[in-house]
Symmetry: C2
Subunit: 333 residues, 2 copies
């Protein structure tokens, strides 16, 4: 395995561009950064732009960060949990929108028992966003590294809703099973500890909806979808009078459906299950899984709006549209 050695030639700097364009270094910066308050004549501006283009100038990001005190990097810390299918679209959209505003989005999955130095030490992000609150040591570490903004805001408890775990989805799941006539529901989640806070958030949303619909209190059933022994769990639930399962995501729903089939139950007559996220497995599973689809593109834009508002003193976002999930009914409900 060999690795390329670029031409030894010095990297092009702003000095080179200034010389090529016949202006001062400062002017190069003003033109390239569109600095407001500077009135650069049109032809000077064009000369600089052309020189920069011709030389293939790329500003040194470390120098820029050091001088300006801002890295224009947004660090998104994701939970140690398999990325959900739709998350990819979400992130693509968010990072495109942020790029247009001159920011780079870096995603980072932190291992649960991470002994490694956290990524914010080496990236100096302007903002660190997490899906769940950060531990006090993490917050201290960020502050020591000069991170200026952190979300969720340490100290305050904020609705996780704001970022990734919408509660509208779980509510919709419960509503759907309720409409289909189910009165005894259970909430199913995976046994993995990683996702605990996200599970808790979704479970709570589902529970509240069940309560307000006058249903029996929702209990949380743990499903180990890597073992084949879910059938017993399902059988036990069925014997206890459960007819509907609200699943944390489609993987869990698939495990439940698979266990139900193995236990000899008919779906959705004996038991109904609804997943969440509309991942590929939902459509292809036998029986095909009912689920909740999320408008990830809209969510991504909303995330970008949120980021820009907190990093800059931006006005309100482009549009205050609410992102509503939709029901996808298939064979399991």
């Amino acid at each position: 395995m060999t690795v390329s050695e670029p031409a030894a030639g010095r990297r092009v700097t702003a000095v080179d561009v200034a010389r090529e364009a016949g202006v001062s270094r400062a002017t190069v910066g003003f033109v390239l950064n569109n600095t407001r308050g500077q009135t650069i004549p049109k032809d000077t501006r064009e000369r600089v732009l052309r020189a920069s283009e011709r030389l293939g100038y790329r500003p040194n990001s470390a120098a820029r960060t050091l001088a300006s005190g801002r890295s224009r990097i947004i660090l998104l810390v994701l939970p140690d949990w398999p990325i959900e299918f739709r998350m990819r679209n979400y992130l693509d959209e968010a990072s495109l929108a942020l790029d247009r505003a001159g920011y780079s989005l870096v995603t980072y999955t932190r291992h649960a028992d991470q002994t490694a130095r956290p990524l914010w030490e080496s990236l100096s992000p302007d903002l660190v966003v997490g899906t769940i609150p950060f531990s006090p040591p993490d917050v201290d570490s960020m502050l020591a590294c000069g991170v200026r903004k952190i979300h969720p805001n340490p100290g305050r408890t904020e609705p996780i809703d704001a970022s990734l775990a919408l509660s509208a989805g779980p509510r919709l799941q419960v509503d759907h099973l309720h409409e289909r006539g189910h009165r005894n529901l259970v909430y199913a989640a995976a046994v993995e500890a990683h996702a605990s806070s996200m599970i808790a958030a979704r479970f709570q949303a589902a529970s509240e909806r069940a309560r307000s619909l006058g249903l029996a209190a929702l209990t949380l059933e743990e499903i180990n979808y890597r073992s084949a022994s879910t059938d017993e769990t399902i059988r036990r639930m069925f014997d206890a009078g459960i007819t509907g399962v609200v699943a944390f995501n489609d993987d869990v729903a698939a495990a439940v459906a698979s266990g139900a089939v193995r236990a000899g139950l008919r779906m959705p007559d004996d038991l109904a299950v609804i997943g969440h996220d509309d991942s590929p497995i939902a459509a292809m599973f036998v029986p095909a899984l009912s689920t909740i689809r999320i408008d990830t593109v809209a969510l991504g834009r909303r995330f970008a709006d949120f980021v820009l508002r907190s990093v800059e003193q931006r006005p309100a976002p482009t549009s205050r549209t609410v992102v509503e999930p939709t029901l996808v009914q298939r064979e399991t409900s």
Copy 2:
């Protein structure tokens, strides 16, 4: 959504540590970086370490990068393709090993039609590693951004094997079906264009093995696992005398198995299928999928070794062990 505003207090710098420890700025650097060739007396060293600890000093990464010309960041560019399940462990292991050597691993999924500026512009990584060769514009962009090492090496064609798409897995798939008595095989992959190069690599490895075993030439069958109409495809294959399907990954294998069940075929008697990666779906699918398991931890270490060798002038890796995939036989073969 509010965002925290850290204490306005100035960030701790090396000057503060030097003052606190009663030494010069330079000495602080020497101690903290373990600069070789400098002989620091033990108690000076400890004084500096304690002062740094007490003040919660974190070096400014931008300043360090600018001064040293190295960011100690490794950028791994992943294809625009759902991250395979086991990849997560792989990356965790690699990033832990790199962290111990003082490097940070940043992963980055590039969108196919990405109009956004690439991440190497804002991160100034010392090394950019991709799973597939970079386009000439990408390479130019990296060079202009001061990236010193690129892999795969532009210009040379290198075995993709070196990084992520091992060819031992596909070979094992073919061997297994061959041993089970199958002579007419087909290679199944998803229709998504994103993974084309990885599919091509795995397909090629499988094809070569089939040829060397004296089997009929392998054809590539495209499976759309988001539609329910795979049954027809499967039926057609079966009628054409195919008895074994080598799947690109477990998702594809699941789609094939699901189609086979729908088409009324018995597995593995009428049709056998083997997946790749041993993702969670493989164990939980009905029927449970035979697949290939990869030792991702060992692979992760090997990746870290490779990175360190190319970024520094490191000696050969810890051990030149070959990472062999293993067969996991379940109900579909």
